[in-house]
Symmetry: C2
Subunit: 390 residues, 2 copies
């Protein structure tokens, strides 16, 4: 949330839902400028502030936004009460800055709903067993919302974002992108992992685990959004979306001796450096050597190369390099499980567009290819056109 | 506190005290600009926000300042931990915006001190029996500090302000004003009531009740301040200070019928309007009528007149009026209890300066006079010169 006008608009959405006869619990994050301001203030006094004190500081951000939102709702003539994370029953572990929710005890929320109040809860925060403030880290507010919905067995958990729902591709890039009515948890997870930035995986995983029905929708327009749920209506749609992730790098080991145990030796070293490896490709051996390539988050590329340098020198590897000029293009959809020609359709679309595929990987409901970064947007457009038309 | 530089200066004062081997608990208020900013944000969404939500909002202010101060201390290489009011054990009643402290349970503070940490506590705030955030209202942070000092039986409670201590008069106005080394609780209370704005009465009353030794000193200079304690050294000083309060008004009823019960009838009406009456002067009856005058806070003058209008008309009062062009000048000092010529000295000084006295009132250790507002500063200077020289 940004300013008073936006607060009032959000208050209006909430009271409209309340007027329909619903019990309403709203989970709020801090206003973006507040967060930036607090981080700047911290940096002025201590560049390496302890995470415990950073959590104490950052938790003030939601405290401000929940009370302001309760005031805004009150000004519209509806009863509202704001609750901090701990007041709303959020117990977390002690990992400051990235705490995990251990339990939500919604007793207080229930009591306030029984008084017919709209309950405004500070997302992103909780209390650990030392009675200290913690924050949940990335995707924290969405996760807070899903956790409350699960604890209270809510009919629906609506996630308001700056987009109108989940699209078949990024609508800012692909004019023909369509908003989906429904998508399954697994499809949403694959899409998020593949670069779609609508929902954080953490909240979707929790929603899947506790079977919380989600709706992704916009706080600006009033259109129906996209439902995320276990089973979606049978549709003709083979795939649900095309996603691009250009935050990846490819690490390649060229000419490694073709011996047993090579993969273990390589990837145990990368794992030791705490780097997540995504797609792995290993060439068939030739002349007693083979090539290994894999993708990692772009920011970890140099560290991955570093973790392998000694080993590659010791065994006599021809070349060790990282390439950041790549992007991962993925198609996701439960429909492809039963339709073997989906992957072929993707490859055909890329071939017609003259785009070279560097690597391929797939899960049951996803196919991903690695292409040159400069071809990425064109690749998304070509694949999207193939499956969804103009 | 205003900015990073000020935070670092405060951190330095704290760590210097810690280095001397003291257990240090610091009570912090919100940064002034944060408070202003939060109030402005609230007003944008709701002009009449509930006090409960205002307390939730305002409490974020100290949350920000305590964590930043803990970070600042940490950056100097000393261990610090910030605690919210409730974490520090502050239990209050449910009066949002002006809560009273019911109990301080310093268990957590003790545990942190046992770990050799500097403890930074959010002043001004606590938790009520509904587990909701409350704020203490005016003078709240000083009161928080005294309450902790009392609960922990601290050796000393230092109150850092923007002045170097308690002076015999306002040093910005009276060049000859002297800083006092010591002052008793009662003298400090009379001075504060008489217009000196160094310490809030609430904190001094609590310090007196629990015999907490206070020191008022400046966070900018490093000079010794003024000690506030039960018994001060015997000194030649008859009075401790001259104070001015120009936030008063005089209400006068001229020509009220001279009948029994008049005073009761007048002041019960004023009390019903929740107005605090200070000095009262009643003339001797003449021609079957008498005059009654009293002082009230300037902001309450019109309401006081209003509360009496019907009554005055009913009994046939000649005139009912409020005069805001007045100021109260007081001298305070335990020494005057045994020196009957103190009040006379004050009147002599004012007479020599040609200043007319409108009303006089006194307690055991205070004499106050009401003068024309335009004469107020000259009156303070004349009285101060009389007792303290140039």
């Amino acid at each position: 949330m940004a300013d008073a006008a936006k607060l009032m608009r959000v208050a209006k959405i909430i009271t409209d839902t309340y007027k329909e006869g619903n019990d309403v619990v709203v989970v709020v994050s801090a206003q973006g400028d507040t967060t930036d301001d607090l981080i700047a203030k911290a940096k002025e006094v201590n560049q390496r502030a302890s995470k415990r004190e950073m959590d104490m500081l950052m938790a003030a951000g939601e405290q401000i936004s929940i009370s302001l939102l309760a005031m805004a709702i009150d000004s519209l003539g509806y009863p509202a009460i704001s609750l901090l994370g701990w007041q709303a029953g959020f117990e977390t572990n002690t990992k400051y800055g990235a705490a995990r929710i251990k339990r939500v005890n919604p007793e207080r929320i229930r009591a306030e709903l029984d008084k017919n109040r709209i309950v405004i809860v500070a997302g992103f925060q909780g209390l650990n067993r030392y009675d200290d403030m913690t924050t949940l880290g990335r995707g924290g507010s969405d996760t807070s919302a899903v956790a409350i919905a699960a604890a209270m067995r809510a009919d629906l958990c609506q996630i308001y974002t700056d987009v109108e729902g989940v699209y078949t591709a990024d609508p800012r890039k692909i004019p023909g992108a369509k908003k989906l009515d429904e998508i399954t948890y697994n499809e949403m997870l694959e899409l998020a992992t593949s670069g779609a930035q609508v929902l954080n995986n953490r909240s979707v995983e929790m929603a899947k685990k506790y079977n919380v029905e989600l709706e992704v929708l916009s706080s600006i327009t009033v259109a129906t959004g996209t439902k995320v749920k276990e089973v979606t209506k049978m549709e003709k749609m083979l795939i649900k979306g095309v996603a691009k992730d250009d935050g990846v790098a490819r690490v390649a080991l060229i000419g490694v001796p073709d011996e047993p145990g090579i993969a273990f030796k390589v990837f145990s070293r990368v794992a030791k450096a705490h780097i997540c490896v995504d797609n792995i490709l290993q060439s068939v051996g030739r002349d007693g050597t083979k090539d290994i390539a894999f993708t990692v988050p772009a920011g970890d590329a140099d560290a991955a190369v570093e973790s392998l340098r000694d080993y590659c020198e010791a065994v006599g590897t021809k070349e060790l390099r990282a390439d950041q000029d790549v992007a991962k293009i993925s198609i996701v959809g439960a429909g492809m499980e039963t339709h073997e020609n989906v992957a072929a359709g993707m490859f055909e679309a890329l071939a017609d567009a003259g785009i070279n595929i560097q690597m391929i990987s797939s899960s049951e409901i996803r196919v991903s290819v690695l292409v040159d970064k400069k071809d990425a947007d064109r690749a998304v457009a070509a694949v999207h056109r193939h499956f969804f038309g103009e």
